[in-house]
C-alpha cells in the first residue's frame, strides 16, 4: 500500500497530508485534522451528516476518497465562523432553537450554506429540497426551515 501526498485547502488553511489510497475524506478531516464537527452516520451517502462543501459543491465526505479531494477547497462546519463571530445561519439556528441533539446540525448548516450561496432567496419548497439530503432523527425540521428562512433574510439585508 503506497501512501501519497495530497494538498487541500481546508477552511481557508492550506494543508498537505500523506494519505492511504483508500482513506476517506471524512476520516482525514476527523481523525487526522481533528475537525470532528463533520459527523459520520451511515457511510453510504444516505444520511448526509458528513456533508462538506468541496469546491463550492455540497458533497457527502464519506463517499469521497481523500485522493479525489486533492487540490480541492473544502469548507467544514468549523469554517463557517469568521473572526470569532458565528455565521448568520449558525446564529439563526441558535435563535430559533433549531438544534436538538445536534448530530445533523453540521450537515444542515452546510446544506443551508450551499443553498443560500446558489440561491439567496429560496422558497419554502427550495429550502426543503436543499436540506433533503440530511436526516434529522429528532425530526426537528420545522425549526431548521424557519432558521434558514430568517438567515436568508438577514444575509440579504
Amino acid at each position: 500500500m503506497s501512501k501519497s501526498v495530497i494538498q487541500m485547502e481546508v477552511n481557508g488553511r492550506s494543508v498537505s497530508l500523506e494519505v492511504e489510497p483508500d482513506e476517506m475524506l471524512v476520516d482525514v478531516l476527523r481523525e487526522r485534522m481533528g475537525l470532528t464537527g463533520t459527523k459520520v452516520g451511515c457511510r453510504e451517502g444516505e444520511c448526509g451528516v458528513c456533508s462538506v462543501i468541496l469546491n463550492g459543491k455540497l458533497v457527502p465526505s464519506c463517499l469521497i476518497p481523500a485522493m479525489k479531494a486533492d487540490g480541492g477547497k473544502i469548507l467544514t462546519v468549523e469554517g463557517l465562523e469568521k473572526d470569532g463571530e458565528l455565521h448568520p445561519l449558525q446564529k439563526e439556528f441558535l435563535n430559533k432553537a433549531a438544534i436538538q441533539c445536534g448530530f445533523c446540525t453540521p450537515g444542515m448548516l452546510l446544506s443551508a450554506k450551499a443553498l443560500l450561496d446558489e440561491n439567496p432567496e429560496p422558497t419554502l419548497n427550495e429550502i426543503k429540497i436543499g436540506i433533503s439530503g440530511v436526516l434529522c432523527r429528532c425530526t426537528g425540521y420545522r425549526k431548521i426551515i424557519q432558521a434558514i428562512e430568517s438567515a436568508a433574510k438577514s444575509v440579504r439585508s
Binding site: 500500500m1 503506497s2 501519497s4 489510497p21 483508500d22 476520516d27 481523525e31 459520520v40 457511510r43 453510504e44 451517502g45 444516505e46 448526509g48 456533508s51 459543491k57 455540497l58 458533497v59 457527502p60 463517499l63 469521497i64 476518497p65 485522493m67 479525489k68 486533492d70 446544506s111 450551499a114 429540497i129 436543499g130 433533503s132 439530503g133
Partner: protein, 330 residues
C-alpha cells in the same frame, strides 16, 4: 429476537442483511466500529485521458475498477466488498463532463453530474425530461457527486436516467483498448448490475438527438418518498401526433424498476402507433405496458403493486405529453 414480534418482509430483509456471516466482518451500529475499514484498495489513480484509464484497466485486469462519483460503487463496496486492488478515477479527464449540442445531436459527457444535467440550458431547452429525471436522483449531495455514466454503468434496473435516455434512443460511446465503439442504449444493459462493457472499457459519452419540435416528452417517477429514494416505477414517454387527426405518429415508452434492466415497452408502442389518441387507446396501451413489465417483489413494493402502477404511470405520462402537445404552437 423476542417471541411474537411481527415479522414482515422488511424485518426479514433487515435480519438477513445484519445476520452474522462466517468470514465476513459485520458492522455493529452501536460500537465504535464505524472506524472499521472494510473496502480497501491499494492504488487510486486519477487519470487525465481515457487512453490512460484503459491502459491501467488492461494491465490490472480483474483487479481494477472504474470509479466516477463513487456514490453507488463505494456504498456497494462497503456492503459487499468486491476484491478490487485499484480504482481508476476518470472524473479529472478534461472535457468528460461536458454537455454539448451540435448538428441536432446532444453529447453528454460520461462524468456530467445529475446537477449539471438538471441545470444544463441545452437539456432544459432540447431534452427537458432528462433534466427532470436528473433533478429527482438521490439527494442534493448525491446529485453533486454522482455521474451520468455511473448511473448507467451501475446498471440498476431503477437507474433514473435510463428511461428518458431510452426514449431518445441514446447511443453509448465506449472507449477500449481496440478503439471506440458505439452501442445503442437499448442493448447496453444486459442484466441487473451488468452491461456490455468489458472490464477494460470505459463509457465516454452518451449521444441523443434533440427532441423533435413537434414532439413532447415527459418523465415520471414513483417513489415511497420524494427524496433519497429509488423509483418503485419510473416512466418516460415521447409522443408526437398528427394534430388534425389526433393519431399517434411516434411513441416511445421507457420503463424503469420493473424488469431486470430498464426497458422499452415495445408492444404498447406498436399498439398505439397510427391509432387515434383517445381514452380507450391510451388505456389499452397502458395495459399492454403492464403485461410487458416483469417486476419483482422486494422491501419497497410487491410485484403486483409495481405492475399496477406501470399502468397508472404510463397512462398519466401519455396524457401529460398530450397536454404539452396541445399547449404547443407548431
Amino acid at each position: 429476537m423476542g417471541v411474537g414480534w411481527p415479522r414482515n418482509d422488511v424485518s426479514q430483509a433487515v435480519l438477513k442483511r445484519k445476520t452474522f456471516q462466517k468470514g465476513k466482518v459485520m458492522r455493529d451500529p452501536v460500537s465504535k466500529s464505524h472506524l472499521w475499514k472494510k473496502p480497501c484498495w491499494e492504488k487510486y489513480f486519477r487519470v487525465k485521458t481515457p487512453g490512460e484509464a484503459v491502459q491501467i484497466l488492461e494491465e490490472l485486469q480483474g483487479e481494477s475498477r472504474v470509479i466516477a462519483g463513487g456514490t453507488d460503487l463505494l456504498a456497494r463496496m462497503r456492503q459487499e466488498g468486491f476484491g478490487v486492488k485499484a480504482l481508476v478515477d476518470i472524473t479529472c479527464i478534461p472535457g468528460l463532463g461536458e454537455i454539448r449540442s451540435e448538428d441536432g445531436l446532444i453529447r453528454l459527457g460520461a462524468v456530467a453530474t445529475p446537477k449539471d444535467l438538471s441545470q444544463s440550458s441545452v437539456l432544459r431547452e432540447k431534452a427537458f425530461c432528462l433534466a427532470q429525471a436528473a433533478s429527482q436522483i438521490g439527494t442534493p449531495q448525491i446529485r453533486n457527486l454522482g455521474t451520468l455514466g455511473g448511473n448507467l454503468c451501475n446498471a440498476s434496473p431503477a437507474a433514473d436516467l435510463a428511461p428518458p435516455l431510452l426514449i431518445f434512443e441514446a447511443k453509448a460511446k465506449i472507449a477500449g483498448g481496440k478503439g471506440e465503439r458505439e452501442v445503442p442504449l437499448d442493448s447496453f444493459f444486459t442484466g441487473p448490475g451488468q452491461t456490455v462493457l468489458n472490464p477494460s472499457e470505459i463509457l465516454k459519452e452518451i449521444i441523443i438527438p434533440e427532441l423533435r419540435l413537434d414532439a413532447s416528452a415527459t418523465f415520471l417517477k414513483l417513489g415511497r418518498r420524494k427524496a433519497a429514494d429509488l423509483a418503485l416505477v419510473s416512466v418516460a414517454v415521447l409522443l408526437a401526433m398528427d394534430r388534425k387527426e389526433r393519431t399517434c405518429q411516434l411513441i416511445r415508452i421507457g420503463l424503469g424498476s420493473v424488469a431486470p434492466t430498464p426497458i422499452r415497452a415495445k408492444q404498447a408502442e406498436a399498439f398505439l402507433i397510427g391509432r387515434r389518441l383517445d381514452d380507450r387507446s391510451i388505456q389499452e396501451a397502458a395495459q399492454s405496458a403492464m403485461r410487458e413489465s416483469q417486476p419483482i417483489s422486494d422491501v419497497r413494493a410487491s410485484s403486483q403493486y409495481r405492475r399496477e402502477m406501470v399502468g397508472v404511470m404510463v397512462e398519466r405520462a401519455i396524457r401529460k405529453c398530450l397536454e404539452q402537445l396541445e399547449g404547443k404552437d407548431v
